[in-house]
């Protein structure tokens, strides 16, 4: 079974005007992460290390780092603490890839393994990429991939 058969996938991409070396710690260093996500953190940036982000309001994200390869790649499992959570800890995985882009960085985030009836989303995803393949097949540049989530 592929991952895509097992749940929904969210993809996000954004360009940051800073090099990967400067962007990477925002996913691994509590002092950086608090500028964009969560109010309290416990981050052990090594494979198997704790990924714990308290979002406030009783929403706590818990997971474990899977891969820590500065400055280009970091992945971690992701889920909400508590009983009967839609996305329990360990059930989904977030992969972050940092690609140099001039003096900046393309940050690509893929969140896999989300629970979903899924089939329609898979179709949307495939439609998105098949359309891009079609363009690429004509020799034209399909342009930077905005990701499925970007529409």
């Amino acid at each position: 079974m592929t991952v895509a058969d097992d749940g929904d996938v969210i993809e996000q991409e954004i360009r940051v005007a800073a090099p990967p070396e400067a962007v990477f710690p925002y996913f691994t260093d509590p002092d950086k992460m608090r500028h964009w996500s969560g109010v309290d953190h416990e981050l052990e940036a090594r494979p198997g290390g704790v990924y714990h982000v308290d979002m406030g309001g009783g929403h706590v994200i818990r997971g474990a780092f899977v891969e820590v390869a500065p400055p280009h790649r970091v992945s971690f499992t992701w889920g909400w603490e508590g009983e009967d959570q839609v996305v329990p800890p360990g059930s989904s995985t977030v992969e972050v890839t940092l690609v140099p882009d001039g003096e900046g960085t393309i940050v690509r985030l893929v969140h896999r393994g989300l629970p979903a009836a899924a089939a329609p989303m898979h179709r949307a995803g495939w439609t998105h990429y098949l359309a891009r393949l079609a363009v690429a097949g004509t020799g034209e540049d399909p342009g930077p991939d905005p990701g499925i989530g970007a529409g």
């Binding site: 985030l109 979903a116 009836a117 899924a118």
Partner: protein, 138 residues
């Protein structure tokens, strides 16, 4: 939203949704995939229908089920927003830090909307202090 989130928090119910994502199935067809009692399966089906995640229709003496995936759109859009909002904040923070660093190094001017030097110094010392006190503590 809450009903849908609670409904899909249960693994059997997620499995039911996957079974009927692409094809319609009767309650009996669905129950055949599980080692659960029929009443237990029926209970799961009822929760899913009430949460707006399953459509049901009667065909002769059977009830046929099919996933109603738009019921899950809210989960997806919640997380979509969670990450897109987060990454925009990350960009602002990283670029602000980058400008501050460039400004100090003199390689690029650092246009800022508000009080450049004090904001920069304040944030950096604050971050350092936080790190010493509680960076890895919860």
């Amino acid at each position: 939203m809450d009903a849908a989130l609670r409904a899909i928090a249960e693994p059997h119910r997620r499995q039911i949704l996957r079974l009927v994502a692409d094809e319609e199935l009767s309650a009996g067809d669905i129950a055949a995939h599980f080692a659960l009692s029929r009443p237990a399966v029926s209970q799961h089906l009822r929760v899913l229908v009430e949460a707006g995640l399953l459509d049901q229709r009667r065909e002769a003496t059977r009830i046929i089920y099919r996933a109603r995936p738009e019921g899950l759109d809210e989960v997806r859009s919640y997380l979509d927003t969670f990450w897109s909002t987060g990454l925009r904040r990350l960009r602002l923070a990283a670029e602000s830090e980058q400008r501050a660093g460039d400004g100090a190094g003199g390689s690029r001017p650092a246009p800022r909307a508000t009080t450049p030097s004090t904001a920069r110094v304040g944030r950096e010392t604050g971050a350092t202090r936080k790190g010493d006190d509680r960076g890895r503590r919860r």
